[in-house]
């Protein structure tokens, strides 16, 4: 059985990976003015991978340790991260619209940049109480 601390480490690593992949996808799409600079299934596959990894880790940790890892400070951090993700989506979407970039490009960059912001915020907030 893995501990709540280990589950938190798994979460930090999984979210960091998700953030890196989403940010890379958004930047590559923006740099190449093409949403398919990287395989378009990659962000979704990453999200599914993170879910599966965390689900398996949570099963191994048991109910008590999982609840401890997802306690009230985590939920508070998640709301903060979701807020940053929301404003990133709004800002990015608006900026792309002003730059006359629409359609698939706008959608791909907006969604992946918002996801990257969510993941990076979550990792940063998780690391805040580490020492």
């Amino acid at each position: 059985m893995i501990s709540a601390q280990t589950l938190t480490i798994v979460r930090i690593l999984a979210f960091a990976l998700g953030g890196i992949i989403c940010a890379t996808y958004a930047l590559a799409a923006l740099a190449g003015v093409n949403p398919h600079q990287l395989p378009h299934w990659l962000p979704l596959a990453t999200a599914i991978f993170i879910f599966v990894v965390f689900f398996i880790a949570a099963l191994s940790a048991g109910k008590r340790n999982t609840n401890a890892a997802l306690d009230e400070s985590y939920q508070s951090d998640q709301k903060t991260a979701a807020g940053f993700g929301f404003w990133t989506a709004l800002g990015t979407g608006t900026a792309l619209w002003l730059l006359d970039i629409g359609g698939q490009m706008q959608l791909a960059i907006t969604l992946t940049s918002a996801s990257a912001m969510f993941f990076f915020c979550q990792v940063t907030l998780d690391l805040r109480g580490w020492k």
Binding site: Q5, R64, A68, D71, S76, D126, G129, W130, K131
Partner: protein, 76 residues
């Protein structure tokens, strides 16, 4: 108005590490750490659990910082 907390002192007095206290009340060590460092303000429920486990009153753990004197508004 800020919250002063004495959680770290009471935890050490009880001979507990952050991890042991976290395990005992069913939260993560990070939560205990962020409460002690005044990064996160716990819910009433968590504050009561902490007080009960450390066998102290809530007011021994948390207290409001004294208010700085502010000029009263004239509402007449």
């Amino acid at each position: 108005m800020s919250l002063i907390n004495h959680l770290a002192a009471h935890r050490r007095a009880a001979g507990l590490t952050q991890a042991q206290l976290a395990e005992a009340i069913g939260v993560s060590r990070k939560t205990i750490n962020t409460v002690e460092n005044r990064v996160f303000i716990p819910s009433t429920l968590l504050a009561l659990k902490l007080a009960r486990h450390l066998d102290v009153s809530l007011h021994d753990l948390f207290e409001l910082a004294p208010e700085t004197a502010t000029p009263e508004k004239d509402i007449t």
